[in-house]
């Protein structure tokens, strides 16, 4: 029996310092996937890494062996990572819990900002890499595609996505209470957290033409500047340049205040008291709340924005519950599919065995009868078929329906023993050789489909897949 498992760590279980050690640069993901697939007990594998999580999804024959293989894979990723260090932060799920985990992650139910749209693109990226490096197979392909469709279903059927969107909209709505026309306004983006990027995007959509950007990593600032057609400024100078900004969006991974009341006071003075609008979406906060006391400066943090959204807690909980309901339902569907996958070879084998017996017996009878008219031959053949089919029919129907139930594997095992069926060879796994040509063609088709899908569903919010230098990855891991 094949099992789907996941081992990983996320913002909920591990500190950023550990997470960033495990992130593999995009350029070396292929290598990492090969290393993963080198573990003989792993049939299919996929590595998902975002700023908030690193996870390995795999299809294995034995759950525990799979867990320890993936653990070993993580330990091998970085020299300074040891098993003792890693173990307390890892979560391991198998079977329906692993399926549910993937569905929840893809639907952004497990994200730091629930409902944020980036994760779907990141899952697609991970899947594309797995396809490119032939590490995914029949089960993972079906599973990830299902996860993507579940995410879309949740997005369209619940209002869970509105949370993230509405918080960044709220920032824009609030800014509209200070500024009537954005086209002459300048926005400054400090750090590159998801929420701030979303908000900056809404500001640009609402007419802000000039965007100043600053992050600790100059390369990162460069790619952001390209995205917003903005100007990148050195991180060390941003406080001095702050007076140029009408709107300051702050979202870094720093654990202390980056902007204090004195800085804002000075900026407002340099602006000749023209109002400044500051949004701090970082957790923990990066702008000192004392800034609220500064005249003509308006500071809002994430709680204020969420408060402004006025979506009451009950509604959010209700939407989350509905989303979880959808996940549960889809996990059920997927489990049935996995079980039927198990039953199909048994049914086929039974059918083949019966047909072989029938054929052999008919041939034997024919040779005994001598010459017969074609009518008589047909009658004989029909008799044999009739008996075989009538006998098998009940068993096949029972097997098919039993395969969908929770103890389906027991029935299948019983059928194999009663009828003396052989155990099937393992599912063709892509990296294991046979039928590679066909797999290849299938994967290319998958990739093309995924890309077409991507361009249709992803807006500009999607991260460019090309950013691949090591620094970028470290930066992404630190949330900066």
């Amino acid at each position: 029996m094949k099992h789907v498992i996941v081992v990983g760590l996320s913002h909920k279980t591990a500190p950023v310092e550990l997470r960033e050690l495990l992130v593999v640069p995009d350029s070396r993901v292929g290598e990492a996937l090969n290393r993963l697939m080198a573990h003989a007990r792993i049939c299919e594998g996929m590595v998902l890494q975002t700023c908030n999580r690193v996870e390995v999804y795999a299809v294995v024959d034995h759950v525990d062996a799979g867990f320890s293989d993936i653990q070993q894979f993580f330990v091998d990723t970085h020299l300074s990572v040891s098993a003792e260090m890693l173990l307390p932060h890892l979560y391991r799920h198998a079977g329906d819990r692993a399926l549910a985990h993937l569905f929840r992650v893809t639907s952004s139910l497990d994200s730091m900002v629930v409902g944020e749209p980036q994760i779907l693109g990141q899952v697609k990226d991970a899947f594309r890499l797995a396809l490119t490096h032939n590490s995914s197979g029949v089960i993972l392909n079906k599973l990830v595609k299902k996860a993507i469709s579940v995410a879309k279903r949740i997005r369209s059927e619940t209002r869970i996505a509105e949370n993230a969107v509405s918080v960044s909209y709220a920032a824009v709505e609030l800014a509209k209470k200070v500024f009537s026309d954005f086209s002459a306004r300048t926005a400054m983006l400090v750090g590159a957290g998801e929420m701030a990027k979303l908000a900056a995007q809404h500001l640009v959509k609402n007419g802000v033409r000039h965007v100043l950007l600053t992050t600790r990593n100059p390369a990162r600032a460069g790619s952001l500047a390209e995205r917003f057609h903005g100007t990148s400024i050195p991180f060390g100078d941003f406080l001095g340049e702050m007076s140029k900004a009408d709107i300051v969006l702050c979202s870094t991974g720093a654990s202390h205040y980056l902007i204090g009341p004195a800085d804002v006071q000075r900026a407002v003075r340099e602006r000749w008291n023209r109002p400044m609008f500051l949004i701090d979406v970082s957790v923990p906060r990066n702008i000192d709340p004392e800034v609220r006391q500064v005249d003509n400066a308006f500071l809002f943090d994430i709680d204020d924005l969420e408060g402004h959204v006025e979506q009451n807690r009950d509604e959010r909980i209700r939407e989350a519950t509905r989303a979880e309901g959808i996940v549960k339902e889809e996990v059920g569907v997927m489990l049935k599919w996995l079980q039927s996958l198990e039953a199909t070879p048994a049914i086929v084998a039974l059918r083949q065995r019966a047909d072989a017996i029938k054929y052999a017996e008919v041939q034997k009878a024919l040779s005994r009868f001598g010459t017969l008219t074609s009518q008589q031959r047909e009658a004989l053949d029909g008799l044999a078929s009739g008996i075989v089919n009538k006998l098998l029919h009940g068993s096949l129907v029972a097997l098919k329906s039993a395969a969908q139930s929770s103890n389906g594997s027991v029935y299948i095992e019983a059928a194999r023993r009663f009828y003396g069926l052989e155990y099937p060879s393992p599912l063709p796994s892509p990296s294991r050789g046979e039928g590679k040509g066909m797999e290849e063609a299938e994967h290319v088709a998958e990739r093309q489909k995924l890309e077409a899908d991507q361009s249709e569903t992803e807006g500009p919010s999607h991260e460019p897949a090309g950013e691949s230098d090591k620094q970028n990855v470290a930066q992404r891991a630190s949330g900066l």
């Binding site: 209470k177 009537s180 008291n273 408060g307």
Partner: protein
């Protein structure tokens, strides 16, 4: 003779004021539109009253305090209607209409004999008109400043209620404040100059240093400083809002002083 019509005007402005205040608490624009309609009717009646006074036998030869107040409220409503036509900023009515009502009501209350200015020279109406228009500018600046401070306070305390939803963005209010002073100040300057000239023609002196004149000059200097401060050292936003509120309070006190004295000052602003 025109008093009943002036009373009708004041009544209509009162209705407009009440409706505008109700509008502050409601999310729909319907009340605002009714208030606007009522105000328009009041404005039409008011225009007829003023026109009949201007074209009457006495004409502009002598200007009573009543006419000056009446003209002031008419100009306020006129500015309000112009702004609403351009920007559909209905909420402005909730702040301007009370002022317009108060000044038209004062016009009804003050005895029509109380003449602010003696029928000395024909040019006197020019002085009164200009000074009143200047004051209208300061009144609008005052209203903008008041709205600015309210919006500022609501934003700072994170109260996103009906009021914050209705009030325009801070920069719109600051611009309104600035433009009103920029327009009002030259008008007041011209008003004071024409006043001085007519005083020279009447009494042989440009200034007689009575309290009204001193107040007028103080007001003028005050707004000059406010204007200069904005241009040179960035007295804008919250500071400008505070200053214009203080300034207009001074103007109101001057008015009140003139009214309470009930005397016949030679020149007022």
């Amino acid at each position: 003779m025109m008093l009943p019509f002036l009373q009708l005007t004041a009544g209509l402005y009162f209705a407009g004021t009440l409706l505008s205040l109700v509008y502050l608490l409601r999310r729909s624009h319907v009340v605002a539109k009714i208030a606007l309609g009522v105000t328009c009717v009041g404005f039409a009646v008011h225009s007829i009253v003023l026109a009949s006074q201007v074209f009457s036998v006495e004409g502009l030869k002598w200007v009573t305090f009543q006419t000056a107040l009446s003209f002031f409220s008419w100009s306020l409503v006129c500015v309000f209607l112009l702004v609403v036509l351009r920007q559909s900023l209905y909420v402005l009515g909730s702040f301007i209409l009370p002022l317009a009502f108060l000044s038209s009501a004062s016009a009804v209350i003050v005895p029509s004999e109380t003449s602010a200015l003696q029928p000395v020279v024909q040019a006197v109406w020019v002085h009164v008109t200009l000074s009143m228009l200047g004051t209208v500018g300061f009144a609008v600046a005052f209203v903008a400043g008041l709205m600015y401070l309210i919006q500022d306070r609501l934003l700072k305390s994170k109260q996103f209620n009906v009021l914050s939803f209705k009030l325009p963005p801070l920069d719109v209010l600051d611009t309104l404040n600035q433009r009103s002073i920029v327009l009002g100040f030259p008008l007041l300057t011209l008003g004071i100059l024409t006043g001085a000239v007519s005083a020279r023609l009447t009494f042989g002196e440009y200034v007689s240093w009575n309290s009204e004149q001193i107040w007028a000059l103080v007001t003028w200097v005050f707004y000059l400083v406010v204007l200069m401060g904005r241009i040179t050292v960035g007295w804008r936003a919250k500071k400008a809002a505070y200053l214009t509120i203080v300034g207009f309070t001074g103007v109101l006190l001057t008015f009140l002083g003139v009214m309470l004295k009930g005397t016949t000052p030679s020149i007022s602003s």
